[in-house]
């Protein structure tokens, strides 16, 4: 198949990628660049497992052709940590134990990071809406909601409206 050279910034590094122009960005990231964070789930942009940030906005990469990535700034879950420290959303996912199988986790984290960049103090309803394109089959939704709200509270305390709901951890009765 005919190939083209695509130049894009991936996780802060400029990359030149030779691939078929209509190759899905997800394939390029996983197979050509060896990134495992974006996951294949459906191939048609309906599940969110493959989400990456393109120009700071979360979107599916399985139905995003490589040619459209030319000149774009792309961030995968691997590119979120700063100086060895996890992004607040990643840390909150661990703090809330907000996963079961974890296959959808990278896409969830990316969606949440995209949301928090646009809205530092989202309501629970706004988080639900922002993550609506991310499917989870294990049923970890409540924990993920708590994690995103926790990350928002941690990273932008000044931006939170007065009286904003603080996520409360579900404790077992013992």
């Amino acid at each position: 198949m005919a190939t083209v050279n695509i130049r894009a910034t991936v996780n802060g590094t400029e990359r030149m990628i030779e691939c078929e122009p209509d190759a899905p960005l997800l394939d390029v990231l996983r197979q050509d660049l060896g990134l495992s964070g974006p996951r294949f789930g459906c191939g048609v942009g309906l599940c969110g497992a493959c989400f990456v940030l393109v120009g700071g906005r979360a979107r599916s990469s399985c139905d995003f052709p490589a040619w459209a990535a030319e000149g774009q700034d792309i961030t995968t879950v691997e590119g979120l940590a700063q100086d060895g420290a996890l992004h607040p959303v990643q840390q909150a996912v661990l703090d809330e134990q907000a996963a079961q199988c974890g296959y959808c986790t990278s896409g969830m984290i990316i969606s949440a990071v995209g949301l928090l960049r646009a809205n530092a103090a989202p309501t629970e309803g706004e988080v639900r809406s922002a993550l609506d394109g991310n499917l989870c089959r294990c049923g970890s939704h409540q924990r993920i909601l708590r994690a995103v709200l926790r990350a928002a509270a941690r990273s932008e305390p000044a931006a939170r409206p007065p009286g904003a709901r603080t996520p409360v951890r579900q404790e077992e009765a013992r």
């Binding site: 198949m1 078929e20 190759a23 394939d27 197979q31 060896g34 990134l35 495992s36 964070g37 974006p38 996951r39 294949f40 789930g41 459906c42 191939g43 048609v44 309906l46 599940c47 497992a49 995968t76 879950v77 691997e78 940590a81 996890l86 990643q90 996912v93 661990l94 134990q97 996963a99 079961q100 199988c101 974890g102 296959y103 959808c104 986790t105 990278s106 984290i109 988080v127 639900r128 809406s129 993550l131 609506d132 991310n134 499917l135 989870c136 089959r137 294990c138 049923g139 970890s140 939704h141 409540q142 924990r143 909601l145 579900q170 077992e172 009765a173 013992r174």
Partner: protein
């Protein structure tokens, strides 16, 4: 605390201590369970059990990957039995190893073993710095022996690692996006395979026209109606498979039932009829003054794992094959592959690598068979096979459609005296190797392959198969339960989380509300009046208290809710012998049906990782809600048509309810597992809440807005 002298079945089958752990890495204990991790958190809990009994830090425990080449054979990771079986074995093994270590250390030190303590795997600190540790003693002396049941494990009262919430050992990789899943594995020289599935379950491949395949294709594989392609990259394999699909000529037949008449389908097929319970009480039957009867159904349900199934296989030296799979049962898979391919099982090795969440027997094993068949064409090269999303939703085994027909008799005081329950279903026991058949999809498509025969269902009991939880937990003197297993199987079925319990509990708990209404009783009170088991009563009382049941928005007549809000309660003891769960649901019914909140109280006996239990119960509750409200495999007379997340919708973030879970403390009771016990009660609670909100009983799942509207219109 005294322990049962019964070994876990896993330990009885694998009695050598060395099979379960070693100290080959300094300051690290490597445990080797035969149960696999697929997101349920079981490896974390097993590590806690080992750390507790050995007196090492949880951070010192590593869990070895499961492989038929190196792990104890613990069969399939299913049935919520890992903590009992694998945990029970590891607890006993580790207690014995610790006792042997202390005896050895005491002899070297000339001390009384009872006076020594172990911390982080070494004698001390209260016993002085002896320098003796699990890693300093002769490993063979500690481990080369058989398990004895006379060594007592610790009393839970002395636990410091087990019984407390521990963070999952697998989550840091997942939050960072590091390679962890089978889908991320890249083996040296790996090629990429794709399978072109038939266009329908009943289809025969007549021929393949010449296709212009892209550069990078290594070879095509055709064997009967099994058609696949191997390429240098997955992109090329996908493109080649699409062209092959266009070039393939098939004879397709209609073989599926009428999706809009599942009841008619289930009742019209030949069945194997087996009694589950027959308990006659003529005196009680004679007290019956009124009777009720109803039928409840569920459709076929798909597993819908977030990742399409994946596998890698490589053939070496002619007849030796290595397989990497996310199967729930690598040992049965090895046996089925050997049987199906006429190989010596000793020449087949299956390694487990985690995939996305698994909720029963999905397509993982089938993908493994695909990889094995394709890789045979390129000896020495590993071939990775990845399924497509449409194939995953249509070719993997399904949870069977079911019908439960119930009738009951009440006496003058409103007590249930008689109960009949008949369950029609395809079987749930269809994993590889069951009944001596490989039961692997590709092996049914190759030349000379035979269709997978109708799935079996295990021993008819309230604990297994389609009749799991078909025996009500209530005190009913005259009881008869019968299983009707279908002997035809137009849509392939096998085990899906909770098996028949999802429908049986939905049916029983819906019916209990209908009986309560007939008896003029509050649904919670009506249940308690028929329950003498104190643990059952306790979870109902807890769930009622959590949800404010007594003071719920209205205590009035069903269907007279001013604001369209409805509350429902349901209960079951999973399998009749395992964990207890009561659930309360709150739904809102206006222009659509939405589930607002769920409250669950569970008693799962002793708890190893409380947060792990909460996670499993929360997740089970949401998945059950998704099944109950949304899910239904769609098909025409030829093929399954629900092959995307649009045509097979599951509950999304904007639709999931708030979920509150409380664990009822029961430290003196054995562990029961927690992964499946919410499925039935949540469905029952939602059904009862919908009936409470709209005043009409909807007995056919899923409870979509359209289904509820249709039922109201027909009422």
């Amino acid at each position: 605390m005294s322990r049962s002298a019964e070994p876990s079945p896993s330990l009885a089958a694998n009695p050598q201590l060395r099979e379960w752990l070693d100290f080959s890495v300094d300051a690290v204990v490597t445990i080797r369970p035969g149960k696999v991790e697929y997101g349920q958190g079981v490896w974390t809990a097993l590590a806690q059990i080992a750390a507790e009994e050995l007196d090492v830090g949880l951070d010192q425990v590593r869990v070895a990957g499961v492989s038929t080449g190196s792990s104890p054979d613990e069969g399939v990771t299913s049935g919520s039995r890992s903590i009992q079986d694998s945990g029970g074995a590891l607890r006993q093994v580790c207690a014995q190893v610790r006792a042997a270590f202390l005896a050895e250390a005491a002899e070297k030190l000339g001390a009384d073993p009872a006076g020594l303590e172990v911390a982080r795997g070494a004698v001390g600190p209260g016993s002085g710095e002896s320098g003796l540790s699990y890693w300093s003693l002769d490993e063979a002396a500690l481990l080369d022996r058989a398990a004895r049941l006379t060594v007592p494990a610790k009393s839970p009262a002395r636990w410091s690692v087990a019984g407390r919430s521990a963070p999952r050992i697998d989550l840091p990789d997942k939050a960072a996006g590091r390679p962890r899943f089978l889908h991320d594995q890249v083996l040296p020289g790996m090629l990429f395979g794709r399978v072109v599935r038939p266009p329908a379950p009943a289809a025969t491949l007549d021929g393949v026209d010449e296709a212009d395949l892209p550069d990078g294709v290594v070879t095509q594989v055709r064997d009967g109606s099994f058609l696949g392609v191997i390429a240098e990259s997955d992109r090329v394999a996908v493109a080649a498979a699409e062209r092959l699909a266009q070039a393939a000529r098939w004879t397709v037949r209609e073989s599926l039932p009428d999706e809009d008449d599942l009841k008619g389908f289930l009742l019209s097929q030949p069945t194997d009829d087996q009694p589950v319970v027959q308990r006659r009480d003529a005196e009680a039957a004679g007290q019956v003054r009124s009777t009720c009867a109803a039928e409840y159904t569920r459709p076929f349900i798909a597993h819908g794992s977030m990742a399409p199934s994946c596998a890698i296989a490589r053939w070496d030296d002619g007849d030796q094959v290595s397989v990497w799979s996310h199967s729930q049962g690598v040992f049965p898979l090895r046996g089925a592959l050997a049987t199906g391919l006429g190989l010596d099982p000793a020449r087949v090795t299956v390694h487990y690598v985690e995939g996305a969440g698994v909720y029963g027997h999905n397509a993982a094993d089938d993908a493994a068979a695909d990889a094995v068949l394709l890789a045979r064409a390129v000896p020495g090269r590993p071939v990775r096979v990845l399924w497509t999303r449409p194939d995953e939703l249509s070719w993997g085994p399904l949870g069977s459609a079911m019908l439960a027909r119930l009738s009951a008799g009440l006496d003058a005081a409103g007590r249930i005296r008689t109960w009949r329950q008949d369950v029609w279903s395809n079987g749930f026991v269809g994993r590889p190797g069951i009944g001596g058949e490989p039961r692997l999809l590709a092996l049914s498509h190759v030349a000379g392959g035979t269709p997978i025969s109708a799935t079996l269902d295990g021993v008819p009991s309230g604990a297994m198969g389609a009749t799991r939880n078909a025996v009500p937990a209530y005190d009913i003197p005259d009881l008869e339960v019968t299983r009707h297993r279908l002997l035809t199987m137009p849509l392939r079925t096998s085990s899906l989380r909770s098996l028949g319990a999802f429908l049986n509990v939905f049916a029983i708990e819906s019916f209990m509300d209908e009986l309560a209404l007939a008896a003029g009783a509050d649904p919670a009170e009506f249940r308690l009046a028929h329950l003498s088991d104190p643990r059952a009563r306790r979870v109902i009382e807890e769930a009622a208290a959590m949800s404010g049941w007594a003071a719920r928005a209205r205590g009035g007549t069903p269907g007279e809710s001013a604001d369209g809000t409805g509350f429902g309660l349901a209960f079951a003891r999973y399998k009749g012998v395992a964990g207890y769960c009561a659930a309360v649901a709150e739904v809102a019914a206006d222009t659509s049906i939405s589930l607002r909140r769920l409250w669950l109280a569970v008693d799962v006996g002793r708890v190893i990782n409380p947060d792990g239990v909460l996670n499993q119960v929360e997740g089970g509750a949401i998945q059950s809600a998704s099944w109950a409200l949304r899910e239904r495999v769609r098909f025409d007379r030829t093929r399954i048509t629900s092959v995307t997340w649009e045509s097979y919708p599951i509950l999304r973030f904007t639709e999931v309810p708030e979920v509150a879970v409380r664990i009822v403390d029961a430290p003196g009771e054995p562990e029961t597992g927690a992964g499946e016990l919410a499925q039935g009660p949540v469905a029952g609670a939602i059904g009862n809440a919908v009936a409470d909100a709209v005043g009409v009983r909807v007995r056919d799942l899923p409870l979509t807005t359209e289904q509820v509207t249709r039922t109201i219109e027909l009422s």
